[in-house]
Symmetry: C2
Subunit: 285 residues, 2 copies
Amino acid sequence: MIKGAGLLLGSAGALGILQGCGGSASAAEPAPQEPTPQQLSDPRPSQFPYEQHLAASYRLDVAAVKEAAYQGYYEGGCCHGAYKALLGHLAATAGAPFDALPLDFGKFGGGGIAGFGSICGAVLGGVLVLNMVVQEDTTKLRSALLTHLIRWYETNPFPAYVPHAVHSNEAGRTTLPFSTAITSLQRPPNSHLCHASVSDWCAAFSVSASGPDKLARCARLTADVAGKAAEMLNEYLATKAFVPAVMDDVSKRCVTCHPASSTAQPVASGMRCGSCHGDKLTNHF
Amino acid sequence: MIKGAGLLLGSAGALGILQGCGGSASAAEPAPQEPTPQQLSDPRPSQFPYEQHLAASYRLDVAAVKEAAYQGYYEGGCCHGAYKALLGHLAATAGAPFDALPLDFGKFGGGGIAGFGSICGAVLGGVLVLNMVVQEDTTKLRSALLTHLIRWYETNPFPAYVPHAVHSNEAGRTTLPFSTAITSLQRPPNSHLCHASVSDWCAAFSVSASGPDKLARCARLTADVAGKAAEMLNEYLATKAFVPAVMDDVSKRCVTCHPASSTAQPVASGMRCGSCHGDKLTNHF
């Protein structure tokens, strides 16, 4: 019912009506921190999706989002890092309705949702904020952005981000050269699932999936993913168009024989098939 | 800044202040649809998580959620069906802040997020609403509920729900006996991923993954999942406790040799290992 507030004050014309009437001292002399009529008629969370509330020239600061995402990782995990960095930046720079939403909503998504190893939480955080902003229409632009973020993740070499300030939870605890040779630590996950992404990377560098090197990797990956989502959103806001990456050639071959429309072993997927079905990549055709 | 509305009106004491002052006709005689002071001081979306705003006796009507989820599936997919059914029910029966949130937020999640085949959208819709309500604390209750919903999904035989009214998009188009012998159509997905869940079921019944039988299955599955989330939420609200299902014995054996803490092939996952790694279930130990 808060959503009626703007309407109510709007119909009253201006806050002067409140200020000018003598009902009580607090009404006659509102404290400085009380909202103005313009603020009370700000866009509300129910007025979704939110690109309708952004100025035509609005763009995100990708570098600021990346650093906030890296730092946020150590406050509440990968999904929280990406979600809070993106939403917090939108709230700080674009205002309502972003500033009316809880910044801690993404904490559930860490480690592939409550540590289950499902979709990478950084990707999920990015997906949730992209979904907040971008309108779906007949050209399926929202789906294009979501598909692109997930598909980009599958093949992007992580981690890449070099933070401005190493978080105190990390400093002095890592064994791998994150600060001096980060490119030597990069691997594409080949899957958008936390389980596969983390397990592969940790095995490749002989580190624990619950230790400080894993945390340092995922903190930087969170910055990479949040930054990518911000870049994609900027491209979309500038052009109101977006062309997603297409399925890889190996997976395309899989769904040639296993299209979703088949009644014999149909496959419903946009993922890279080889991540789980490596045994089908040879001697199967 | 909308979030300041309750504070402002609260400080003004009562709507009588607005009604009693002579600033304008619209302020003196508010239209019937304008919010009351109580409504303007309702809980706001930023006051998260939302169990703090629910009466101690509040419970969801599981049957109502199920039917709404089934019908909602045909409006916008599995995630939308589950999300809108749960959030819409909370909005209708508990009010703010649920009624200040967009009911269409979940449409992005259909088919495992924009059709990508990731986490089942019905599960994701349930996860998002459970996360709205349940507070995480030192006993990790929110994580317990999320883990349980996903793990339950992996082994529950879907579909089970029999709708009160078959949706017009479905009526007369299916070939399988959804209305007369639904138990003959049930299979546990063995995975929480849309891709595996849909592909396995369609192959088992020799139907297309893009045809009306698949839609009818997933519409009922959406009702099953949303209903389960509602049941779990009721149990949690009644007891403020929740014990999640544990990992299956086969997967437990996997992580005995591959714990997350290992530095040699550590595994970060709560999923059923056999879903993707069937080749490791024999001749691997």
